[in-house]
């Protein structure tokens, strides 16, 4: 008896026991699909969080972009006064970076803070000075090249309003607007420290009320024109240059070539290039928390899949007690019978993988087209469309798991049956 002959026998048994095979297949295929959908949702969540970090960010400073360029000292030393280590002649550097083939845009930003007042009440703000037309490029990246577009289109109207309100327009957070009783068109005053250490103020007009994804930041959220921020601080420097690439996957590979352009070929240059991952503290903390939740959910699903497979295989095998007794009585050894059951479980596993893939993609299509919206994640303000990603890299592992489950559970069922004596199993009904 060779293994091919035994495999043929096992395959024949599966085909002939159609009802039994179908029930087992349905259970294990559903298990595969459940795991793959969890993996697809997990991938969607992590991808969404990653791209959200890049395009919009979870701080008052906006999206991290793919890379950020700083003066080296800005990262190594504490500034004695604002923008001591800011970047001068930023446009020359930006033009140089934009020559890189994977670079979609470069965005200069100033980070500043101070007080905002309506004449009666003053509250603190965390501001960012931006070029609205450039910031829109980051939103365009999300809307045009991003897999998340189906789930959620990003609105650029706030930046368009800011552009229209040049040069003294500002965007303020909803909570800040409430606190200052401000509406679009309300005149306010910004006060901050200049690079010389003096206090300066400029008049601004509310060009739009923006909604920061993080509720806690909304009360301090302010975006002004770069020029307004520079006027306020008496400087022509910027805090950093944000680089938008054509694909997040190109982040690491873009660093050396951009570094060559702005730092020259030597190892010591004036600028540091920081990838988004190093700026995404919130992303990693959420990812870590989600990893625990998904791992826990995954373990529960795996246990349910295994128990369901084991139970179905046991029921299917219990129906065959008499058959097993007969096989043993006519001289077929326990090891051949075990191997045959192992092969049957293995084939069921293979078929379940095929069935599970079909089920997974079928349910993904249904879910992705259902328009079902998920509630806002903790600390965020807007819901999003539920989406299940293909999660292709998880499929081989899930396949292995399901095949192992069906094969092992078939064997476990057989071990239970092997305890029944031949004489008793011959008369088993």
């Amino acid at each position: 008896m060779n293994i091919i002959k035994l495999a043929r026998l096992a395959w024949r048994n599966l085909l002939r026991n159609g009802r039994r095979t179908l029930i087992t297949l349905l259970v294990s295929s559903a298990g595969f699909a459940a795991l793959a959908i969890v993996a697809g949702y997990m991938e969607f969540t992590f991808y969404g969080l990653q791209e959200m970090t890049i395009c919009r960010g979870f701080t008052a400073g906006g999206g991290t972009g793919h890379l950020q360029i700083f003066r080296k000292e800005a990262l190594d030393r504490e500034e004695r006064f604002p923008l001591e280590y800011g970047i001068g002649q930023n446009q020359t550097i930006q033009s140089e970076i934009e020559k890189e083939k994977n670079v979609l845009a470069t965005i200069p930003r100033i980070e500043f803070n101070g007080l905002i007042s309506n004449g009666e009440k003053s509250i603190s703000f965390l501001g960012t000075g931006v070029v609205p037309e450039k910031e829109i490029k980051l939103i365009d990246y999300w809307n045009q090249t991003n897999k998340m577009t189906n789930s959620r289109r990003m609105d650029n109207s706030a930046y368009l309003n800011l552009a229209k309100g040049a040069p003294n327009g500002v965007l303020v957070g909803e909570e800040m607007a409430k606190a200052l009783d401000a509406k679009v068109g309300t005149n306010l005053m910004l006060m901050s420290t200049t690079v010389d250490g003096a206090v300066n103020a400029v008049d601004v007009t509310v060009a739009g009320i923006a909604r920061n994804p993080m509720k806690s930041i909304d009360r301090y959220y302010l975006v002004s024109h770069l020029e307004t921020a520079q006027n306020l601080m008496f400087t022509d420097k910027v805090s950093k240059i944000v680089v938008v690439l054509n694909n997040t996957g190109n982040t690491q590979s873009a660093i050396p070539s951009i570094s060559r352009r702005i730092n020259g070929s030597g190892s010591s240059g004036s600028f540091s290039i920081v990838p988004w991952q190093s700026l995404a503290e919130y992303y990693y903390s959420v990812r870590d928390a989600y990893n625990i939740i998904f791992s826990f959910t995954g373990i529960i699903v795996v246990v349910i899949v295994f128990l369901s497979c084991a139970n179905t295989m046991l029921m299917a095998t219990m129906e065959r007690v008499r058959e097993i007794g007969t096989l043993k009585a006519i001289g077929i050894s326990n090891s051949w019978i075990s191997l045959m059951f192992l092969l049957e479980g293995f084939f069921i596993g293979l078929l379940s993988v095929a069935g599970g893939i079909v089920l997974k993609f079928l349910f993904s299509i249904i879910i992705n087209n259902s328009g079902f919206r998920m509630p806002p994640p903790p600390g965020m303000t807007s819901s999003y469309l539920l989406n299940i990603f293909p999660a292709m890299e998880f499929l081989p592992w899930i396949s292995l798991l399901v095949i192992a489950s069906t094969t092992l559970s078939g064997l476990l069922a057989l071990i239970k049956i092997r305890k029944i004596s031949i004489v008793n199993s011959l008369s088993h009904v």
């Binding site: 008896m1 026998l9 026991n17 007969t326 006519i330 001289g331």
Partner: protein, 227 residues
């Protein structure tokens, strides 16, 4: 000239349960089976004849005594070795036929041969040959549910016969059949015994069986009783 012995049971005892509830299914049975002979184990239900047949067929082990099949002492054999012995030397015919329902008549008969190292062509020839012997060649592609009780028992006999065993053990082979069909099954077993000299042991309490068999071993309460 006396025929050589194909199987011998020596001082066989078999108990079920323990303590006060212990049942002595067989008590100190010593018995020999001659090569090519037809023997009947007779007795009422619960007498121990099926237990004796199971022990003789090496699908049950005695609590005491030894079983010799074709000169081999089965006592020290492992489960795998006993399987191998059954595959090579013993053919079973059961009261309820015990055919595999999802296999055709041909496939049921073929099954024991698949576990022997035989070429495909030879397997096919042997299966066709035994199916022809039991008169079911035309029905070889039928599933058990498509066959009558008598036909199913013929398939079971073909399955027992296909491996050229040293002996065929039949446990109440006519019990689930009407008298005419039972008679035809007996005719088949007798003709195979006559033509091919296969040692046949039938456990039965059917008078129609007992009156045709030359050697009848009567068992009651686990002991052999003289005629």
């Amino acid at each position: 000239m006396k025929e050589p012995i194909i199987a011998r049971l020596d001082g066989i005892s078999r108990y079920y349960g323990s303590g006060a509830g212990q049942v002595n299914a067989l008590e100190n049975i010593t018995l020999s089976f001659d090569k090519g002979a037809m023997t009947a184990l007779a007795g009422p239900s619960g007498s121990g004849k099926s237990t004796l047949l199971h022990i003789l067929g090496c699908i049950d082990k005695p609590d005491k005594g030894t079983v010799l099949i074709d000169g081999i002492d089965t006592t020290p054999l492992s489960l795998e070795q006993l399987s191998s012995l059954r595959l090579e030397k013993i053919g079973f015919v059961f009261q309820s036929f015990n055919l595999i329902p999802v296999l055709t008549a041909y496939e049921n008969v073929e099954l024991p041969l698949l576990f022997k190292e035989l070429p495909k062509q030879l397997i096919a020839e042997k299966v066709q040959e035994v199916l022809a012997k039991v008169g079911l060649l035309e029905r070889k592609n039928h599933y058990p549910r498509q066959l009558s009780g008598g036909q199913q028992q013929r398939v079971a006999i073909a399955r027992a016969l296909v491996g050229n065993p040293s002996m065929i053990l039949a446990d109440e082979p006519t019990a689930n059949l009407d008298s005419n069909t039972g008679k035809s099954i007996l005719d088949l077993l007798f003709s195979l015994n006559d033509r091919e000299s296969i040692t046949t042991v039938i456990a039965s309490h059917d008078p129609a069986v007992l009156e045709r068999v030359g050697k009848v071993v009567r068992i009651r309460d686990g002991r052999i009783f003289p005629d």
